[in-house]
């Protein structure tokens, strides 16, 4: 269901982004990356918040099934985070001719988050499975969503300081109706995609766990 919705919405969204929306006044054709880059980034945030919500539920109820759910959500968040970095890098290349720029807030923030959540995986791999690992991972996932606004603030503060040149897109300006519709469809599509992947991955991880239990019981 979710997968079908994701496929449909994304196909529709991409067609809209390529064939329906008019070129942006200043940026021209290259502005169309917006319709994939920003929805993917917002979806990554959504995944991280979902992970933190599940982490909070785990610490609240001590119900161990939330551990796998939180872990899977972080996993999806990192996939979408990497996509944000790559599409953002391409956007930087078309706009300013460089593959990386420290003056693009979103991009820098995602680099910090990527490092942070990579350490989450290191933490999980380095602790034996059990309730202790579940609650430590949950605490770390919670720190992640607090780090997002704090880092964002820090990056804004740093901009004026270290890299005084600030580039601007015209996406910050008001979006036209057609732009808004295209963006909405694409965002719904990436969200549905993340949801479908999340459900799939969660089932797979649970299956893995059950199988090892079965193996233990049989041996």
């Amino acid at each position: 269901m979710l997968a079908a919705a994701a496929a449909g919405l994304l196909l529709l969204g991409i067609s809209l982004a390529f064939y329906w929306v008019p070129n942006a006044p200043v940026e021209g054709f290259r502005q169309r990356i917006f319709y994939i880059h920003v929805p993917v980034a917002l979806t990554a945030y959504a995944c991280f918040f979902w992970a933190a919500w599940k982490a909070l539920r785990l610490l609240w109820t001590r119900d161990q099934r939330y551990d796998l759910e939180s872990y899977t959500a972080v996993h999806m968040g990192v996939i979408f985070g990497v996509l944000t970095l790559v599409t953002g890098s391409i956007w930087a290349r078309t706009s300013w001719g460089v593959w990386w720029t420290w003056s693009e807030r979103q991009l820098v923030l995602f680099l910090v988050l990527f490092l942070f959540y990579s350490a989450y995986f290191m933490l999980r791999y380095s602790v034996d499975p059990g309730p202790r690992r579940a609650s430590m991972s949950a605490v770390y996932a919670l720190f992640g969503v607090v780090l997002i606004p704090v880092s964002f603030l820090a990056i804004r503060l740093a901009e004026g300081l270290i890299h005084p040149v600030v580039f601007t897109h015209d996406v910050g300006d008001k979006l036209s109706t057609s732009q808004l519709v295209t963006f909405g469809v694409c965002f719904a599509g990436t969200l549905a995609l993340a949801g479908a992947l999340y459900v799939n991955e969660l089932t797979g991880k649970r299956l893995d766990e059950r199988l090892s239990e079965l193996r233990e019981a049989l041996s």
Binding site: I33, H37, V40, L211, L214, L218
Partner: protein, 52 residues
Amino acid sequence: MTSAERYVTAAYLVVLAVVLAYVVIYAFKLSRLEREVGELAELARRKKEEVA
């Protein structure tokens, strides 16, 4: 194709490629799970025979 068009297309293709890569990795995982289930079924069958 202008260079802007190429880059925009590339951005969308990257997303597609990552999703496809995920599907491929998942296919490998599925086949591993299938093999493991097979092994466990075999193990269970042998245990049952031993008991009988």
